[in-house]
Symmetry: C2
């Protein structure tokens, strides 16, 4: 990860600056989990053990911090996808990754709402990482299709549309873990090749 | 329909009153399609060719009118379900009805949002008709399962959860007709029995 940055547009950070940034992001996750969107920058600085100035140097606004958290979470998810790309059960790997995205949707939603409330169009700042996420899904889909465990005529627009639908409903309608699991199982059955109907 | 009312709680209307009510509802649909949620009661009265007093007698508030429109639309959908219950292809009938619900979700959403903006918890007033809608879906599901075209282990909570997910996403993400059709086809394939996986 050396030399990588939180967003495709920012210039590379020195290793110690990047370490500070990651420390702030980790602290922010802890404080957000505790205080919700009312978490203060001061509380995050305390949790991270850095000065308020350090936080503001990396993240000039609370919105910039929220956005960085969303990007960091997506980056972790994409790293999971990369690992799953080596699985010897490409179908299971594809379905597992989609499930992980749904699992993550709820907490991501809270932050995205926070950005929307602040009048920030968070999708613009996330276009780079969103493209990376789509690429990660596509790579797992292609691998699953080549292995014959996912139907050949399944295309990305349908995958993304249905995935987004499930993420939205799971969050808004407060799906239980059981309901989410059985609903996804049905959806994934529709993604599999069938001998006969 | 003689003697039926817009809501299970109201007392039965005389035939002429019911005719007036239906005329107002039909006019309201026309004006809403033209003017959106800013449609005025006066414009609706003009379109219906009745006095403003007649409208307010049936619908004391704009919210009561919106709610009656939603109920009337759901009633029409349920009537479609009843007709589909006689189909000699119960699987196709079940899937067609779910598709009709998604088709209707968008316009229903606009009215529901109007009610929410007015601070009305529209779901309370709709609990009766929503139960009827669930019964209609369940009846078509049971028939489709008996005919062997829909899997036996498909339960109502999953049907409703996934249906709601698709309605939400189709409306919010502005699905094209083509995307909606292919996404529903995938979903429905997951609802079918499979010989082998």
């Amino acid at each position: 990860m050396e030399g990588t940055t939180m967003s495709g547009d920012a210039k590379p950070l020195r290793a110690d600056a990047r370490r500070n940034q990651v420390r702030v992001l980790e602290a922010a996750e802890v404080v957000l989990a505790r205080d919700g969107l009312s978490a203060s920058m001061r509380a995050i600085a305390q949790q991270a053990g850095v000065g308020l100035g350090t936080i503001y140097r990396h993240f000039p606004t609370q919105e910039a911090l929220y956005q960085a958290i969303i990007i960091e979470r997506m980056r972790r998810l994409i790293a999971e996808a990369d690992a799953l790309g080596a699985s010897d059960d490409p179908g299971a790997a594809f379905f597992l990754f989609l499930t992980r995205i749904v699992d993550n949707a709820k907490q991501k939603k809270a932050l995205a709402d926070g950005l929307a409330d602040a009048g920030v169009d968070h999708k613009t700042g996330l276009s780079g990482i969103r493209r990376e996420m789509r690429d990660a899904i596509r790579a797992l889909l292609t691998r699953a299709q080549r292995s014959g465990t996912v139907r050949d005529d399944l295309d990305m627009p349908e995958v993304l549309a249905l995935l987004s639908a499930v993420c939205m409903a799971a969050e808004r309608n407060q799906w239980s873990a059981g309901l989410q699991s059985s609903a996804l199982a049905l959806l994934f059955d529709g993604f599999r090749p069938h001998r006969e109907r």
